[in-house]
């Protein structure tokens, strides 16, 4: 079942709905967690990954000696991943991701317009234009979203010129798109509020097929009949022909009805002469149907029916049309029509057009079709939403159904003007994407809804319902590697908690892969999350450092400005240089020193390490020979090192301790008076520094300071004598 497998790792959105308002649900949904392990499970472990992906480890009980099967398999447990919410049984995950990506630009545009307008509306003169224009923006947004939800419509009355084809079965519409359009009709499209019933008629024409999943529909009847069509010899003798036609008529699919009427046998040339009267009645009905007045600005090109934009015109036309039907109904020709099937069938259609409840009830399959037929034939002058709810209740009573379709609850919520129900239905039936985006439509619908949805609630941790649903949607986005990058757009539209969640999301991104790391840092930069980016860089620095890539480690720690760790690294380098003077080991560090040295402040003044190496080398030469020149050279290096402000204080003592041999040079004093004084001052500074709290004790013998001081004093005496 490929269609099912696509959403297989997702709890489909009928299942786990975040944050419903629904206190009435009494049964807890329990889902199986298939693991395929033979032995019983002894223990579970759980862990959340990013977003709402939950990882579960299942551990089998230890295989006992009596159960060789489990032991042989060698499998003692399973790790599985469950993604909660975000799927749709009708739509593939790939298509859902396309929708997710596609809805970003319209969403972002609407948010930026909102913030622009909120700035403008602070100026009192602009306040009124805000409300007038806003729904137009929302409508534009809604149209953009609609275009993502599916290809061009393939309504059942889109007939191609195959006389045998009554219903076109093209691309299947989705409930998601149907739900979105329904909300657009009621909330966003203020312009069409005047002909709301006609919009519903069109909507049902587009989406009637969706309801076939739970019950028989007119669409399914049409499809079934079409399959039979080739086998039917005399169409007008078939009861189903008349039944299907009156059904299609009851919901206003005029084109289909007229096309079907013209399949009537009396149109055939060889029969026309002896069935003239019969054919006249059929054609009369066909003409009447094709001239049915509709209260709407226009019909899609080529559609039957006559459109009247203004109410008075429509009323006049409607009354005229009705009187024509009544006239036809009372016509004496009926008695002369000797084809019983034709007579009864046509008569029934006339009753439908005359708005006889009983006939409409018979012709329609479920409440929504009956509902729409009411608008067409019983209450053609219905305006606005006021009486629509009661009518819906009545239709549901007349056409009770054992199973409720997922669109029904939404429909009832909308016409009942109950924002909470609409929201709950959106959430339960269509999932986080729908709620996060549809709140824009809802809030455009009424001020009341706007207050309800934007009101900040303590119970929700101080956020509004709108924000809550955006956070929930961002969680869904976060749980997939291909969509997490768009989560920040939704999170930053959340005033209170979006940034907090974004921080957590970014913190949980792996630093192992450089491209991902750069992407993370870029997101941090975009949203000014400096502390997060420095943490990410710190993690990356430590990761590389520990994994033997010292250069990359130092680079990222420098980017993170992590002085603590860099100082530790400097210390390690110093120790390593101090331990061994061999060029080989030093070469390993040289690149790192280079890297550290360029930003000496952070790296603890590591440029001195070069000088230190030179100094160590001259000391090494001293140990082999006893040349005073070499000693003088080493002393020069020492003075340079001690004078250089970039030499960190904590290295002073080890440097001086290493130089004891120079300070005690027996041939002559190597330091002049001022040089000796310099070193004595440094030593004094060090003694003071030892008293401060953060002093790092060098790893030297305890008598180090005193022996250095003694050597310096001796040297000073000799230098004074020399001078």
């Amino acid at each position: 079942m490929p269609g099912v497998a696509v959403a297989s790792d997702t709890v489909t959105n009928g299942a786990l709905v975040p944050f419903s308002d629904d206190g009435t649900r009494d049964s807890l949904p329990i889902y199986p967690l298939n693991h395929g392990l033979a032995a019983p499970i002894s223990r579970l472990a759980i862990s959340w990954s990013r977003g709402n992906s939950l990882r579960v480890s299942l551990f089998s009980a230890e295989p006992s000696s009596g159960s060789p099967g489990a032991a042989q398999s060698g499998v003692g447990g399973k790790v599985v991943e469950v993604k909660l919410g975000g799927g749709d049984p009708e739509i593939t995950d790939a298509h859902l991701r396309r929708i997710a990506y596609g809805s970003v630009p319209p969403f972002a545009l609407l948010q930026s317009r909102r913030s622009e307008l909120s700035v403008l509306s602070k100026a009192p003169s602009m306040a009124t234009t805000y409300h007038i224009d806003w729904w137009e923006h929302v409508l534009e947004y809604s149209k953009e979203i609609t275009s993502l939800l599916g290809g061009p419509k393939s309504p059942p009355n889109a007939i191609i010129e195959d006389p045998g084809e009554i219903v076109k079965t093209g691309e299947d519409p989705t409930c998601l798109k149907a739900a979105w359009e329904l909300m657009e009709i009621f909330y966003a499209d203020k312009q069409s509020q005047a002909w709301l019933p006609e919009r519903l008629v069109d909507w049902l024409a587009d989406y009637d097929s969706l309801f076939s999943s739970t019950q028989e529909t007119i669409h399914s009847k049409l499809v079934d009949f079409q399959k039979e069509l080739v086998n039917i010899q005399v169409i007008e003798d078939d009861a189903r022909y008349w039944e299907v036609m009156s059904s299609a008529l009851s919901v206003g699919w005029l084109d289909i009805v007229v096309k079907m009427l013209r399949l009537h046998g009396s149109y055939q040339l060889d029969q026309l002469s002896n069935r003239e009267l019969e054919n006249g009645l059929v054609e009369a009905l066909a003409v009447l149907i094709s001239k049915m007045p509709r209260n709407r600005p226009e019909s899609p090109a080529g559609k039957l029916g006559e459109c009247f934009k203004s109410k008075p015109d429509f009323t006049k036309a409607w009354e005229r049309w009705r009187s024509q039907i009544t006239k036809l109904d009372c016509s004496p020709f009926w008695i002369q029509c000797d084809n019983h099937q034709t007579r009864e069938g046509l008569k029934n259609m006339l009753q439908i057009m005359l708005g006889k409840t009983e006939n409409l009830c018979m012709a329609t399959c479920f409440w929504l079709e009956l509902y729409v037929s009411h608008f067409l034939y019983i209450r053609p002058f219905t305006m606005g939403i006021e009486s629509m709810y009661n009518l819906a209740q009545k239709c549901i009573q007349l056409k009770p159904s054992s199973r409720t379709h997922r669109l029904t609850g939404l429909m009832i919520g909308i016409i009942g003007e109950n924002t909470e129900v609409v929201l709950a239905e959106c959430s339960r039936e269509f999932g986080p994407w729908m709620v996060a985006h549809a709140t824009e439509l809802l809030t455009a619908g009424s001020e009341q809804a706007e207050i309800l949805l934007h009101d900040e609630r303590f119970n929700l941790g101080g956020i509004s319902i709108v924000e809550l649903h955006r956070l929930a949607y961002a969680q869904v986005l976060s749980s997939h590697a291909l969509t997490w990058q768009i989560a920040p757009i939704y999170l930053t539209s959340c005033m209170k908690q979006g940034m907090g969640l974004l921080e957590n999301l970014l913190y949980r991104q792996s630093v192992q892969h450089n491209d991902m790391l750069l992407k993370n840092i870029e997101i941090c930069r975009l949203y000014e999350l400096d502390h997060i980016s420095s943490n990410i860089m710190k993690v990356a620095g430590v990761y590389h450092w520990k994994h033997g890539r010292k250069g990359a480690g130092v680079f990222w720690l420098q980017q993170a400005q992590d002085a603590t760790r860099l100082n530790r690294i400097a210390q390690q380098l110093f120790d390593s240089v101090g331990k061994s003077i061999s060029d080989e080991s030093f070469k390993q560090w040289e690149g790192v020193i280079e890297l550290l040295g360029s930003e000496s402040k952070l790296a603890g003044g590591l440029e001195f390490l070069h000088k230190y190496r030179d100094f160590k080398k001259s000391l090494q030469q001293l140990s082999s020979g006893k040349s005073t020149d070499a000693a003088r050279q080493a002393t020069g290096s020492l003075i340079l090192l001690m004078k250089n402000p970039s030499t960190p204080q904590r290295f002073w003592l080890p440097l001086l301790f290493d130089s004891l041999k120079l300070l005690n040079w027996h041939d002559c004093p190597l330091l002049n008076v001022s040089e000796t004084n310099l070193l004595l001052n440094k030593l004094q500074e060090l003694s003071l520094a030892r008293l401060r709290p953060h002093f790092i004790k060098p790893n030297l013998p305890p008598e180090a300071i005193s022996s250095i001081r003694l050597a310096l004093a001796t040297n000073l005496g000799r230098a004074i004598l020399d001078e």
Partner: protein, 332 residues
């Protein structure tokens, strides 16, 4: 319901005898350990994509006995895990490449005590890395890492019992289990705090308490006790501190034999330095021992697992009423 039967995607099969597992910060590495003392590490290349298959990067016997728990160290300190054995020994293992040697997992520290066992450890990274360990004699120890690049050098920062009044005297405590959860806040400005509860024979020790580090006096203070008078001494199975992405209060889950309690913890202390607490829900579900509780990254959904073998999810509705949202039942 469509597709629910295959909703769980298998990521990995585990060896016989595996007893515990733990994911790292980015859910890209999994550590598992087993009853024969083997520690295994698996890499998942792209954590959320469906195509990658895990690669085993380490598998070795690191203890003689049963490893009961494995915990990752925060990533600011490298890739490292702590193994807690059933005998109460903690060992730290770290993945490093030293001196041009290949990358390998190395032992870097062992915490053991002859008289008492470690029951749980948890790490938190504030300015330094801290490790809280709960011991079978009811003691809590906080260790601090001295050098951020060396997981060898630890210093005992504090040792105390999980009691509010230090004067209260009780007999020798015997604790079966303990549960620790750090405040997951990552800001450096935040005082470090954690919650701990015990499952022991000593009622004073059991109740879960929030401990906060008092910078001024360099000591740990109990700032809240999450227990109602009528539940005094109830053994605590598990605690979990929810991430806070902007709520004006903290949320903490505490599981006892009476059920799963959700507590809200105020942010502003009273004159005695105590934080206001309110139990906002007591929920029943697992009917018995709760093994583990985990909050999602928004701190809005709690996942729990326990003795009934189920995974359960809990959420608050729009009116702030907590309820069980869904459950998962393992089936073969």
């Amino acid at each position: 319901m469509q597709g629910v039967g295959e909703m769980a995607k298998e990521l990995l099969s585990l060896d016989n005898g595996t007893t515990c597992s733990s994911w790292n910060y980015s859910s890209s590495r999994l550590a598992t350990a087993s009853s024969d003392g083997t520690l295994s590490i698996f890499n998942f290349l792209h954590p959320s994509s469906s195509s990658s298959s895990p690669r085993s990067t380490f598998k070795s016997k690191v203890h003689d006995g049963n490893i009961a728990k494995v915990v990752w160290v925060p990533p600011e300190y490298g890739d490292a895990v702590a193994c807690v054995t059933a005998d109460g020994i903690v060992s730290l293992w770290e993945e490093v490449a030293e001196d041009s040697q290949p990358l390998q997992w190395k032992a870097c520290k062992t915490f053991r005590s002859s008289s008492t066992k470690v029951l749980d450890v948890q790490f938190a990274s504030f300015n330094t890395l801290k490790m809280v360990a709960a011991y079978s004699d009811g003691n809590v120890r906080v260790y601090e890492l001295l050098d951020p690049l060396e997981l060898k050098n630890w210093q005992l920062q504090a040792e105390f019992q999980n009691v509010v009044e230090s004067v209260s005297a009780f007999g020798k405590a015997l604790c079966l289990s303990a549960s620790i959860s750090w405040n997951p806040q990552k800001g450096v400005s935040q005082e470090s705090s954690f919650i701990i509860g015990f499952n022991s024979n000593t009622s004073e020790l059991n109740s879960s308490k929030v401990w906060e580090f008092d910078q001024a006096h360099q000591r740990w203070l109990p700032v809240a006790e999450l227990e109602l008078p009528e539940d005094k001494g109830d053994q605590v199975y598990a605690v979990a501190w929810a991430p806070n992405i902007g709520r004006p209060y903290e949320t903490i889950a505490v599981a006892t034999h009476k059920g799963l309690a959700i507590w809200n913890l105020g942010l502003n202390p009273d004159r005695n330095g105590r934080l206001p607490v309110e139990r906002v829900a007591l929920l029943s579900g697992h009917e018995g021992m709760v093994w583990q509780m985990e909050w999602d990254m928004s701190g809005m959904t709690l996942a729990t697992t326990g003795h009934d073998g189920m995974v359960r999810l809990w959420q608050s509705n729009l009116n702030g009423v907590w309820h069980q949202q869904a459950a998962f039942e393992p089936t073969s």
